[in-house]
């Protein structure tokens, strides 16, 4: 395995009294796609959201353990959460463009981090191209982002994440609300993006995990059951539980 970019050690998480993550130890290699799979409610989205502190918004949540990017603890009070979120971007299950036009969705992200004004147009064009959205929107950059189709909105959200040049991109079932054609476009995009980014993707779709990921982590009832290369997980899983899930016995 490559050098670990992102790492969780002895991670426990409770919502109120309910323990959702149980002693999770996992590390994600740099410039690879790691898929988190498992049945609904197994904690994969919850785990993903720990990595850019999205649980900070939620009341009544308790997190123990250590999460680090390049060895730096992201929950350490000394480290700026905004700077950390710039390094660890996130794409959500439901596309969430800001109520601004296409251009400003990206420009706003850049302006948050004091990007010099004269560089903004160039950076926006570049990341829209990287997200394969440029050709579709280059003539109507001032159009409200919510007027785009669902697939375009999701690619815009990816572009908005990419424009900040993060090191890690977290994706929480980014295709679950999309049609097969849009899904295909985003999968192609993910394969290209992994050259530059470390990608962690939560997916319900086993075929998708098989198509795009280098590593697969199987979770069950808040525990990490198995983490291995995609080939191992799908061809010769070591754990009985993983095997049963892959073969569709439950989930």
């Amino acid at each position: 395995m490559n050098e670990a970019k992102l790492k969780a050690e002895s991670l426990n998480l409770w919502f109120g009294k309910k323990q959702v993550l149980k002693n999770v130890n996992i590390s994600f290699p740099a410039n690879k796609v790691t898929a988190l799979i498992g049945p609904s409610g197994c904690g994969k989205s919850t785990l993903l959201r720990c990595f850019n502190r999205m649980h900070d918004l939620v009341d009544d949540v308790r997190i123990e353990g250590r999460i680090s990017i390049d060895g730096i603890d992201i929950y350490d009070r000394k480290n700026s959460v905004t700077e950390m979120r710039k390094r660890i971007g996130m794409v959500f299950q439901k596309a969430n463009p800001l109520p601004k036009n296409i251009y400003d969705n990206l420009a706003y992200a850049l302006s948050l981090h004091n990007t010099p004004k004269d560089q903004i147009p160039k950076l926006i064009e570049q990341s829209l191209k990287e997200s394969y959205l440029w050709e579709e929107v280059k003539d109507e950059l001032k159009k409200p982002a919510v007027k785009l189709s669902g697939g375009q909105q999701q690619r815009l959200c990816i572009a908005r994440t990419v424009v900040l040049r993060p090191e890690v991109i977290l994706m929480d079932e980014p295709c679950s609300a999309l049609d097969p054609i849009s899904t295909n476009k985003i999968e192609e995009l993910i394969k290209v993006l992994k050259k530059d980014y470390t990608i962690v993707i939560v997916t319900h779709n086993m075929q998708q995990a098989q198509r795009i990921s280098d590593y697969v982590a199987f979770m069950y009832l808040g525990e990490l059951i198995e983490l291995a290369t995609a080939e191992e997980i799908f061809k010769s899983p070591k754990q009985e539980l993983t095997k049963n899930y892959i073969n569709g016995h439950f989930g």
Binding site: N52, T82, R85, K86, N96, A109, L112, H113, T161, L164
Partner: protein, 281 residues
């Protein structure tokens, strides 16, 4: 069959209730407009009352009400919005937050005469602002605070969490998220709430009774530490306190028309903002 009768009965009930409400509104409007409209003229609007208020117009009352509403807005809106932002975006659910919310709900139910007495005690006497348009405006600001807070909080609640997450995930601080994304998205709802609560405040009489409204002011003053005339009080006075009530009745009706039109225009603006916002969505 029974289901059909039931649903027909429900339909009749709903339609007749709605009809009844509309009927009352129509009767009130018809009464006021039929008796007052002929007395409203351009001259009535731009002239001052003369000859013991049996002649002339309501200009000082209109200007007084507008100035009053301005002070109410300047005082009530920033505090109201700030409080709603705190409650909806920052405050963690706790006993204290619940107490604050309950207190605000209860404030909305306090009779307006109590606000008047409170304003008299606090602003007029306590802060030595005297009976003035400033004292009255501050009192009305207090009165409209709970409405502004509640409607703003409702508007903020309607903004989906996914927008907050989207902005935070880009590395925005919570303050930037609220300032750049949440408030602009909630603005139409907030504006509507502000206009409705302020237009309601514009029609209040009791809170300004002890805090600065005057029976009659000679001429028009824009100074905030002077007493002032206001449309609702002018109307109250013309219809119950004047020595020759019968003689000034048309003027009273005309004043009512002006007040209703003023409030109606404000409501129309609120309606327009909401309509425009819906179309954008």
């Amino acid at each position: 069959m029974i289901g059909k009768i039931k649903s027909f009965f429900n339909w009749v009930l709903l339609i007749s209730s709605t009809g009844l409400v509309c009927l009352f509104l129509a009767i009130i409007l018809y009464d006021i407009f039929s008796k007052g409209l002929h007395a409203v003229s351009w001259n009535f609007i731009i002239s001052v009352p003369t000859e013991g208020m049996t002649k002339g117009g309501v200009l000082p009352a209109i200007l007084g009400t507008l100035l009053l509403v301005m002070i109410t807005t300047i005082f009530g809106v920033p505090f109201g919005i700030a409080c709603a932002i705190y409650l909806n975006e920052y405050a963690k659910p706790s006993a204290l937050t619940n107490i604050i919310r309950a207190a605000i709900r209860n404030l909305a139910g306090v009779p307006s005469i109590i606000y008047g007495l409170f304003g008299l005690a606090l602003f007029v006497q306590g802060m030595h602002l005297g009976t003035s348009v400033l004292s009255a405006g501050l009192t009305l600001g207090l009165l409209s605070l709970p409405y502004i807070i509640t409607t703003t909080e409702e508007a903020l609640k309607r903004i989906p969490n996914s927008l907050r997450e989207a902005t935070l995930a880009l590395g925005a601080t919570q303050f930037e998220t609220i300032k750049d994304v949440i408030l602009p998205s909630a603005l139409p709802g907030i504006l509507t709430g502000i206009i409705l609560s302020v237009s309601r405040a514009a029609g209040e009489t009791a809170p300004i009774l002890f805090t600065g409204v005057a029976f009659y002011i000679n001429g028009v003053s824009a100074s905030v530490n002077q007493e002032f005339m206001a449309l609702p009080y002018h109307l109250y006075m013309l219809s119950t306190q004047h020595q020759s009530i019968e003689q000034v009745r048309p003027l009273a009706y005309a004043t009512a028309v002006v007040l209703i039109v003023l409030v109606f225009v404000l409501n129309l603006v609120a309606f327009y903002i909401r309509f425009k916002y819906r179309k954008q969505e």
